[in-house]
Symmetry: C2
Subunit: 565 residues, 2 copies
């Protein structure tokens, strides 16, 4: 090759590299932050007069919902709520709860949906930890919130309160006394329906704060970004194959990871949100018939409620039911499906924003006997297209476990919807997000030969009761505060109705004159914990079983608890 | 407030700001690049033995397709193809064409699907401009590709060639002579099915190169990122409400914006790809019946072909048909739907990676008469959830036009799937991507009072014939090269079958002894342009109509062309 040619080849190669380098950079037209908030203005255009929310005898359209959410954002903005402030909500699945999923982040604030089952003490801890500026409070929950504020140390400013009082069928509502700056409706009506909503500056901006546990001691506040929520939402619609204009019955609490993203998802597909304050099997039955419901979500306890109800009528049209939080038991699945539901099973954590693994169903499995089908459906499954990878690894070596459906390991995940981290807990964040790019779920599972993940054992810390996560360490710390107790360990005990309930094993101090009874221990906990976290059963062994290094062998305790159920 | 408290309040506020700042950064578990390439390994796990590709009498499963794509990527890698190199394909919708949509980018290379209708000269221009390292060539197109390479200047290295020769039913295939390094099947079989595919380092890395025009003069090579393709694909599935396991008939050329993203999309939902080499109405009819096709895409010319065919039998089960590229004419829509198709209409450009605006349908429109329904469906519509914004703006002021369905303006878009830019054409990129964040489509449209966009006039440069974009400036530059021609302007002439065909208006030089005939001008073009770009009609006015500033008034010429059709 002569030298002239050689130079020209080199130059050409530089041209293409330079040219590609320039193209690697985002440009002004494609670098707009991903966010689900824009789904609402699209819904107002594409689904203008279609029903967005149905609640008792009230129906809103997407154009109304769009206006109302802008009004909420506008009012928040005008009382000084800014980008990065936290605004909390304590409410069941009423229409305002749905609206706030858009309205709060559209003001630039971070939305914190709080578990409505918390007690005043836990609530107080979370409101202080999150430095909440304002709380929207359902009228039936106003006394517990007011009590929570009364527990604030005197030098810490309490948040402002807005009263959600939109349920005419309830008991006499608390009037907006001096405690509340306004009612929800009044607050909303002050807002400008043409408000220019506050767009995230970056798609990595925090949008959502969800507490998973730590209500009594060390709060774990999961922060999710606009980008994460977008990826989660779009893929959650895709993998449940949600069509246009679904009718979605809100049996899943929105405070549970924002209803697994379907809160924003319904705006993307022009769905109708059937809101409700509380429900039992007969409410579900009535609402499905009345509104031609097509989609419903819930923990297995909801499937259980449906399948155990003697009044539940077989469905005229099939209804999709999506469950997660724990594997649905085979007989519950079989009974639910025999009523006309099509059940799907998925897996996710508050830390992943919603479901990121689903048990993708294969046609060939349809031919199997019901119990084998249920066994397959109880597996957590494969990654969604919103997740980059899921694996089960040996926690010692970090290597993938054998794909034999037997070797236990920790379930690890990576993908766009994984949280930014825990609020004010960089140590806790580092513990579960490794430099190697994995998020450590804390769940123990196996990898089946076909590549499906199955969770075999929850992390030692977690008990799942009626869809609620209970951190055993929290219950233990309350038990340890009892002067009669020497050592305590809390594990899950299988329960037909709740899935699991907490079971406490306590060894008492030797020098005691009078030993506490099971009932007294339970009452001690009830005074200090939200009701769902209180142990249903207390066992008094002389000593707790331990490993040679002194670690309590919870595995053995779980076996004992199981044998007692 | 005493000073001690004041300090503590300030500190707290610093803590939360610092803590949030830390959270704004992506972490190792959530910053994995978005890419559609991972859909394939997921499909191999979730849809293992389900059919992925059906072609004549051959069926592949998703597990096979996964292995085969890894093998292609492995072979490319082993012959020296690297991250950022361009690999091109010239092939119809045969199985290898589908596999290469994954296989090429999984080697790290940028995939360039080339229009199979181009002539040797245009092909040669694109292969040189893209600095293609290797071309996969269908055996029926090998002579035109070999001719294209013979047109390379001697000092420029020609790309390597691999022969796609997988169609037993065809005429005697060219044997892999010295021109080809291997056949596709041989090349693939050399690859390692356990190859670790090359993941993008950043989601902004270029993945796709698609030429939109400029085949004769200034090539416009659209570069799309992994991120852009991901956003486009996921949202294209969502807005067409594609369920699990669709059966997709590949009537849309994959070289048209990668089949609007459904090439990767089918892997996400476990679809079956019905491949075909070429088709007419009776082929479509047969394949729909044979394979229970559920989904089909195509330019309006495909709907036209179906609706005009006397043999087309009404469908037993409804088939979804998605059209774009030009508004479907009302009678064509009505006839297609009467056969049992459900038609949807969308809009996008190669520069947006696929469809980003869709005519979201409202239930209430179902009740309207057929012609009103068709008129509504012919509107381009509203943004998908993959697009951040679409607007119609006054090109002078940059302001939104009135929402009156009448005021003309330019359609502008912004969103995650907008291209990185044109390859080696930063000036061209700057002309269409403004600092204000808009991508200027070049299409002229109106905004209806309900927020739906409708395109009224294509940009002056573009004629759409049978789904192909023809840049009128290119045809004009060929006409101008004819020594007898004084001035030339090419506009679209409506055509019942093709939608539009190019119509040339030429004024001849005055001093000519012998004037060329229409036939001679057409033949002159045919020798220098791909067949579909050649004017079907040539008009010889004495002078072309001009504005006071000397600009040719194409608007008037279009009116004349229209009146002649």
């Amino acid at each position: 090759m002569d030298s002239k040619l050689f130079i020209s080849e080199n130059l050409r190669s530089e041209v293409i590299i330079f040219s590609l380098m320039e193209l690697l950079l985002p440009n002004p037209a494609n670098s707009c932050p991903l966010t689900t908030l824009g789904f609402l203005e699209r819904a107002a255009t594409a689904y203008t007069d279609c029903p967005s929310i149905v609640y008792n005898n009230t129906t809103h359209t997407w154009s109304q919902t769009h206006r109302r959410c802008l009004q909420v954002a506008s009012s928040l903005s005008s009382i000084g709520v800014e980008r990065g402030h936290v605004v909390s909500v304590v409410a069941p699945n009423v229409p305002s709860m749905y609206e706030l999923q858009f309205g709060v982040p559209m003001s630039g604030a971070i939305l914190n949906n709080i578990n409505t089952r918390l007690d005043a003490h836990s609530l107080s801890v979370l409101l202080q930890h999150s430095e909440t500026k304002l709380v929207f409070v359902d009228h039936l929950l106003s006394s517990v919130v007011l009590e929570a504020l009364s527990l604030f140390p005197r030098h810490i400013k309490t948040p402002q309160l807005v009263l959600i009082d939109d349920d005419a069928s309830s008991t006499t509502p608390t009037s907006p006394t001096v405690d509340f700056i306004d009612t929800y409706e009044g607050f909303l009506q002050d807002g400008d329906p043409k408000f220019k909503w506050v767009r995230p500056k970056s798609e990595w901006d925090p949008m959502i704060l969800n507490y998973t546990s730590g209500t009594t001691s060390s709060p774990k506040g999961v922060i999710l970004s606009h980008r994460g929520i977008y990826i989660l939402t779009v893929n959650s619609l895709l993998h449940w194959a949600v069509p246009h204009h679904p009718v979605f019955l809100w049996t899943l609490p929105i405070f549970h990871a924002n209803g697994w993203g379907y809160s924003w998802g319904m705006a993307a597909v022009g769905g109708t949100n059937i809101c409700l304050r509380k429900f039992d099997a007969s409410t579900i039955n009535d609402l499905i018939k009345k509104h031609d419901v097509t989609h419903i979500c819930g923990a297995p306890v909801v499937l259980n409620m449906i399948s155990n109800s003697p009044d539940f009528e077989p469905l005229k049209n099939p209804v999709q039911i999506l469950t997660a939080g724990a594997p649905p038991p085979a007989p519950v699945l079989a009974r639910t499906e025999s009523l006309g539901f099509t059940a799907s099973h998925g897996y996710g954590l508050t830390e992943t924003g919603g479901l990121v693994v689903t048990c993708a169903w294969k046609h060939e499995w349809d031919k199997l006997p019901a119990d084998e089908r249920a066994k397959l459906k109880a597996r957590q499954g494969v990654k969604t297209t919103g997740l980059t990878e899921v694996d089960v690894i040996d926690p010692e070596t970090g290597e993938s476990v054998k794909r034999d459906g037997e070797t236990l390991g920790e379930v690890v995940l990576r993908g766009g919807s994984v949280m930014l981290g825990y609020l004010k807990d960089s140590e806790g964040t580092k513990r579960c997000i490794g430099e190697n790019g994995w998020f450590y779920s804390g769940d123990v599972g196996v990898m089946h030969p076909d590549g499906y993940v199955e969770i075999k054992d929850r992390s030692k810390d977690v008990i799942i009761s009626g869809g609620e996560n209970i951190c055993s360490a929290e219950v233990e710390s309350v038990l340890y505060s009892n002067p009669a107790i020497n050592e305590a360990a809390v594990v899950a005990r299988p329960d037909k109705y709740w899935g699991e309930t907490p079971c406490a094993f306590v060894s008492l101090k030797r020098e005691l004159n009078e030993k506490p009874t099971e009932k007294e221990i339970i009452e001690f906990c009830r005074a200090r914990l939200p009701r769902y976290m209180v142990p249903r059963k207390v066992v008094f062994p002389d000593e707790l079983p331990k490993t040679s290094t002194g670690k309590i062998q919870k595995y053995l305790l779980r076996e004992i608890a199981k044998s007692m159920s």
